[in-house]
Symmetry: C2
Subunit: 208 residues, 2 copies
DNA sequence: TGGTCTCTCCACCTTTTGGCTGATACCGGT
DNA sequence: ACCGGTATCAGCCAAAAGGTGGAGAGACCA
């Protein structure tokens, strides 16, 4: 049986050493490199050519996880990358899968789940934590997520906390039109209330 | 030199083993017990009487970290507890310090910082990560803005986009109470609508 | 003990939102 | 010339949110 080489990417020292210890208990898995940022990750992968990369999405400074995945896959489209992160925000999942992640684990995943994901990744299998999978499924069900320019404009103002009336004044349109746009935005974002829309919008990065 | 005994409390297996490995490199620090929930923490502390408890605030199920700290301090007011968590939301910091935490570290703290916090704790010194300290300072500077623990809890859920009814169900209180809390939160944040409150809360960092 | 804070709840009322169903108009591509 | 997407507007109705004022219980502190 071949040993599966793994590179860990996480800006938390404790998480890296924890994962290393955990993976070290498996005879067929070996951690061959570590990195604490996107840039380091690229170097480490180039140097060690690991079978699998375990990557945290949230990196303190510099290149983020998503960008790192994209670049890794660009250099070697066969590179298996598993996302291993604390957060399970909708946007991150879609972006990670989009960037080419083979799996998506939450940090509270059971050890067995992690081992399974690593072993699955080398065979081209995709393993994800249950809550992640269900989110992704939901996202895929409504692919019409692209907002029109006008809708995006509205959403942006929405995150300032304006009322429909204020929104109308600011954009020189009637309140009725505002409501129409909002209804469309809600549908596209998959939410029911303006509160949820704001939360989604702000967290969806970019408009912080 | 005496060895400092430590109990780790975290529901993430990898974090526990990572910390254990990290602390293991220090001759004067020894991990004598682990727990993955508040309840277990109480047991472990009773059994091992550690000099220091390193505790994650966010525990999947059961008693949360804050409650665990309170109970630990109640049983033994001299018990040193260091909070070691990913999040640095304003409310958590205040509540943790209130409950009797000696230090407050973020999980991306440098190893040296962690060692220093453990060693400091046994001497009654309080060590906190820089971002945490600055938050706490800010909180103390404008006291008008401090939300009560309950209010902070509500605000946090508010940013998930929940309705008043859902908020009530989640917190086991009536919708009327939810509205009362919200009114207070709006006043303290200086906003008029829930939309603005959410925007403020999320941008105010921490609860991303 | 009295005062303050926090958390809980209630009623009544107004304003705001959201859901639904429509409509008109412009633009661009087939 | 027709169709799809976008942007604009309307009215109606139910639900949700917000404003006002009040009130009791428990904790904590002076």
């Amino acid at each position: 049986m071949n040993t599966i080489s793994v590179v860990l990417v996480d800006d938390h020292t404790v998480v890296r050493s924890g994962l290393k210890a955990l993976l070290g208990t498996q005879a067929d898995i070996a951690v061959v490199g570590e990195a604490s940022s996107g840039e380091e990750a690229l170097k480490a992968v180039q140097e060690h050519s690991p079978a699998v990369v375990l990557m945290d999405l949230a990196m303190g400074a510099g290149m983020d996880g998503i960008e790192a995945i994209k670049q890794l896959r660009q250099r070697n489209p066969k590179q298996a990358v598993i996302v291993f992160t604390t957060y399970d925000s909708d946007a991150d999942i879609v972006r990670a899968v989009d960037a080419g992640a083979m799996g998506y684990l939450l940090k509270d995943a059971a050890p067995e789940e992690i081992f399974a994901a690593v072993r699955g990744a080398v065979q081209g299998k995709s393993v994800m934590s249950a809550p992640v999978a269900s989110r992704l499924f939901q996202q895929l069900r409504n692919p019409d997520e692209i907002l029109t320019p006008r809708e995006a404009e509205l959403l942006s103002l929405l995150t300032e906390g304006l009322s429909n009336r204020d929104l109308g004044k600011r954009l020189f349109i009637s309140e009725a039109t505002v409501k129409t746009h909002l209804a469309h935005i809600y549908a596209k974002l998959g939410v029911e209330t303006r509160a949820a829309a704001i939360a989604t919008a702000i967290r969806r990065e970019g408009m912080r």
